[in-house]
Symmetry: C2
Subunit: 247 residues, 2 copies
Amino acid sequence: MSNYMAVVEYDGTCYSGFQIQLPDRRTIQGELEKGLSTVLRSLVKIGYSGRTDAGVHAVNQVINFRTEKDIDLYKFAWSVNSLIPEDIVIKSIKEVEESFSARRDAKFREYAYYVVNGSCQSVFLKKYSILITKKLDLNMMKKAAGIFVGTHNFRSFCGSTDDNSKNFVRKIFKFTISKSRDNLIVFSISANSFLYNMVRIIVGTILEVGSGERNLESVKRAVTYEDRILAGKTAPAKGLFLTRVVY
Amino acid sequence: MSNYMAVVEYDGTCYSGFQIQLPDRRTIQGELEKGLSTVLRSLVKIGYSGRTDAGVHAVNQVINFRTEKDIDLYKFAWSVNSLIPEDIVIKSIKEVEESFSARRDAKFREYAYYVVNGSCQSVFLKKYSILITKKLDLNMMKKAAGIFVGTHNFRSFCGSTDDNSKNFVRKIFKFTISKSRDNLIVFSISANSFLYNMVRIIVGTILEVGSGERNLESVKRAVTYEDRILAGKTAPAKGLFLTRVVY
C-alpha cells in the first residue's frame, strides 16, 4: 500500500464546499474521489488538510490517499486532471510515508482574503474578492489584526455549526494586512488550525473597524468574552482562499 | 454637446467580440451602448480604440461618446456598471475635448498574450491563457520577437477578413517575452495599430519557433514575402488581452 500526497487548486464558486455532503451537492472532495477512483479503478477515499466552506477557493489545498496500484505520477495527474471538472486541478503529486496524514500532520494553515476598496471591481476579481466602496482605515485595521495574534479562545469567531466543539483555543502565528495597486487589500492569516467560519468572522469584524463602525476596545471584548454576538458579520465566502498548508 | 472618454475592462469569454454585429450576437459594444443609452435616456453610439476579436479580453479598452446631458461622473459610472453585465466594467470616466476620438487619437496600442508552459494550468488562468506542455525555448522566442520590431508589411500576419485592406504596414514599437513563476510566459507587444488577428498570428508563429517546429529564417521569410501561408497558426483568442491604449 502506497500513500500519496497531492497539492490541489480549485475555484470554489460552483461548489457546496470541500467536504462530501448530501449526494446531490457538488463538492471538491466528491469530484476528486470520483476522478481518482476512475483512474485507479478502485474506490479511493482522500484525507485533506481541512475542509473549506461553500464558495471558498484554494490555491494549495493538500490531500492524501492510499492505493495498492503502481502510479506513473506525471501520467496519473494528467489523467485525473482530464477527468475532473475544469475548476479543480491537481498541481503536483508525490509519494509520502505510509503514516502521513494531510490533516493531522499539518503544522499550520494560511488563508488570504481579498477586498477591493474603491468605486468598482475588476471583472477578473469579482468572483474572488468583495467590493467595499467606503474608504477603509488601513492603519486601524492593522491594529485590530494585532489583537488576534497569539493563542486565544476564538469562540466569538466561530460559526454556529461548530458550537459543540470542545476546544475553541487556536494559535494565530501571523496576521498581516497589506494594500496593493488597484485598491486591493489583502488579509493574510496563518494559524495551527481554524474553527468553522473563523477567518471570515475575523475579517468581517476587522472590516467594521476599518469603516469606523467598531472600535478596537470592542474587538478586544469579543476576544475576551467568548460570545459570537460580540464579533462582526461573517465576510462573504468568495473573497477567501486557502493559500498554503505547511508540514 | 460634451465628449466623454471612459476606460473599460471586460472578460471577452462570452462575447462575439467588441464590435456590434448581427442583432443576436452578444458584443461588448452592444452591451455598453445599451447601458449608456438607458442611463442617458437617449441613443448613445460609442467610438473605441479598436475592436477586439471574439473571446479576447481587455483591461484598458478606451471608448468615447457624446451627450448633451449633464453627468455626475461618479454616479454615472456607478449607474452604468450596475446595468451592464458582470463581465464588463467602466473603470473610469472623464470629460475630454469635443474633438477627441478614441480610435483616431490613439498613439499606440499594447497587447499581452499569456502562455502557461508546464504540465497543468491554474484553474484561475484557464480562461485567460493557453497551456503548452512541451518545453518552449525562451531565448529562441525572444530572438524571433526581435524580427518583428520596427516598420514592416504584416500581410503574412493578417487574418483573412482583412484581405481587402489597402495598407498592411504597421510599426511595432516594443515586443518583449518574459517568464514568471508558475511557468507563465507573457508576450507584450505594442504598435501604432494592429491588423485583424495580427497579435495572435505573430504569437502562434513564435510559439512554433519555441517548440522547435520553425526556425528564425522561416520567420524572416514570412515577414519578407507577405503571404499568410508563410506564417504560423493563429493562437487561441482566450490568451489575449488589450492592456493599454496611449494617447
